[in-house]
């Protein structure tokens, strides 16, 4: 099958949608499909051979994160050429409501289209206002996929359409045999955090605030933090007496991400909400790290209601400190959670998930490949861009 995938966010900036698109594309290629991805990118050299540059994107705050978005005549021309040159059996757009490459592809193309919605945003004012403007593009989409129940509810409420639930995948192969980073072998007392450190909803502040209470219970506890952001600002918020217990690794490469998980004894996800899906939990589970996570819907689902990892009430520093201290004190329990985590994550392995997605492709693909829509559509793009 010839599959075109549009990714709306900048390829070389870390983000869940980009990782999803990369893993999906590579799994489909492994399965023998012919795949091309179009995406905004800063440094063209970071693109894999199956991806095409759609241009530079502009940073815009969106849904609590900074999204880098892209609309304009140059990108539109690139998307049009990509569509014309490829004759895809199916066009798969990701997050098509964000003003970027996916929406452009949706506007410009005609034929079998599938859309995946990643964001859960129950009260999106943007979507409510933009519904009318988006409808002409959205009505071309033949099948909608939501990566989580929350994302599905968002579609139902804002676009008035249903969606199939196919969760995010995790590439177990890439994570299962991770070795610890040099100089960071687990010492039985290390808690790992991984995520953008200056983004409030990732919850590093909750973990930092829980440190004193954790130290009371587990005197030799350490915190290993990986992720981009302002390290100084984070250290300022740490109790001065505990600063030597916190190690900030800064941005780590994709290749080192599994190793970060295996450099600690417990992985902690103290997110304060608005997570559509707990992909990072799945990655930690694939490595075999015991997980302690906020009790939000998405995490609760991934952790099988707390069976495959510990849940604590969102923002509850005392509860977090207790859960971490309990686990650090109990290697047997850590081992048990790691095993359950590995078992739970098997259902999310990319080959399993990609097969479900191909099932949707087969349902929408027909005799006519994807083409560039008639010129009238190009007019509307000029008006709305």
């Amino acid at each position: 099958m010839k599959i075109g995938i549009a990714c709306p966010y900048t390829w070389d900036v870390p983000g869940g949608v980009q990782v999803h698109v990369r893993d999906l594309a590579e799994t489909l290629i492994d399965m023998g499909h012919d795949v091309s991805v179009i995406t905004p990118v800063n440094d063209e050299n970071t693109l894999p051979p199956y991806a095409v540059d759609a241009g530079h994107a502009v940073p815009v705050p969106y849904n609590g994160s900074v999204a880098r978005l892209l609309m304009g005549p140059v990108s539109a021309a690139r998307v049009r050429r990509w569509l014309r040159d490829n004759d895809f059996d199916v066009l798969h757009v990701h997050e098509p409501t964000a003003p970027s490459v996916s929406l452009l592809a949706c506007m410009l193309a005609d034929g079998p289209m599938v859309a995946t919605f990643h964001t859960a945003n129950p009260r999106s004012k943007i979507l409510t206002v933009a519904h009318g403007a988006l409808q002409p593009s959205m009505e071309k989409v033949r099948a909608r996929i939501a990566v989580s129940e929350a994302a599905r509810r968002t579609i139902v409420e804002h676009l008035g359409a249903d969606a199939v639930l196919i969760p995010n995948g995790v590439s177990i192969r890439a994570f299962q045999d991770a070795t610890p980073l040099p100089a960071h072998t687990p010492n039985g007392a290390t808690v790992v955090f991984l995520g953008r450190i200056d983004e409030p909803r990732k919850g590093l502040d909750v973990l930092v605030a829980a440190l004193p209470a954790l130290m009371d219970r587990c005197g030799d506890a350490r915190l290993l933090v990986a992720g981009p952001g302002d390290s100084e600002a984070v250290l300022d918020r740490v109790d001065p007496g505990l600063r030597d217990r916190v190690t900030l690794l800064g941005l780590v490469s994709d290749a080192d991400k599994p190793r970060v998980f295996s450099s600690g004894d417990v992985y902690c996800a103290p997110n304060t909400g608005q997570e559509s899906f707990g992909i990072i939990l799945l990655e930690a589970m694939a490595v075999g790290a015991p997980v302690v996570a906020s009790d939000i819907d998405a995490f609760r689902r991934v952790l099988d209601d707390g069976h495959a990892g510990r849940l604590f009430p969102v923002g509850d520093t005392e509860g977090l400190a207790r859960a971490l201290a309990d686990l650090l004190a109990d290697p047997g329990e850590r081992h048990l959670l790691a095993e359950r985590g590995r078992a739970a994550v098997a259902a999310y392995d990319w080959p399993v998930i990609a097969e479900q997605i191909v099932g949707v492709y087969e349902m929408v693909a027909g005799d006519t490949p994807v083409s560039v829509a008639a010129s009238t559509d190009q007019e509307t793009i000029r008006h709305s861009a």
């Binding site: 069976h307 097969e355 479900q356």
Partner: protein, 231 residues
Amino acid sequence: MLTTLREVTLVVVTVAVVVMIATYLTWLASRLDRLAVRVTDARAGLTSQLALRVDAAGDLARRCELAELGEAVARARSAHVGRAAGGPLDNDVEAVENALSRALRSPAVAATGDRAPDALHAVDVAAARVALARQLHNDAVRDVRALRGRRIVRVLRLSGRRGLPAYFEIDDALPERGDSDNRNDNRNDSTNDSTNDSTNDSTNDSTNDSMGADDGGRLDGDMSEFGGFTS
């Protein structure tokens, strides 16, 4: 001179307005055309998935000698013959497909998990694909009906002679299977692998009198049954 300028302006503005209106109407018409294609394709997909489900159910009924399921299959087959001859996906088809859905959820069918696990799995996969195809079909119908409900489309008859497509409403809720093929169960604790204990009393082949027609059952979005189908 002033008059000519005013006249020229008037003509230019009028032409611009006419062009804009014409462009807009053409664009609306092209959206309607595209949606019509989408509905046609979705309907074809749904029809073929329904036929595949009937075939899979027929295979199971034959191999396990399930009379009740066999009858439901036969009725669905005759409806398919009518549809192949150009008949619509109408209430009659909905009724026989509903009956087939109910027959597929009967304890007698669930009990075939021991004798013909492959055939039962094929039925479940086909049923999941029917549910997906139906969702895609009804999504397309919903989009068409929304656009055709617009006043300008109705007044100017932009959709031509095409009839208004109808939703296809059947109860296609998937049966719960406790077997190991269900990936969701794999995620759960091992205490959860009960093997249809409750369905083993074979006297329980009542004719589902108590089960009222349950339309509007929606795909609950679970794609796990697709598992082994595409490999």
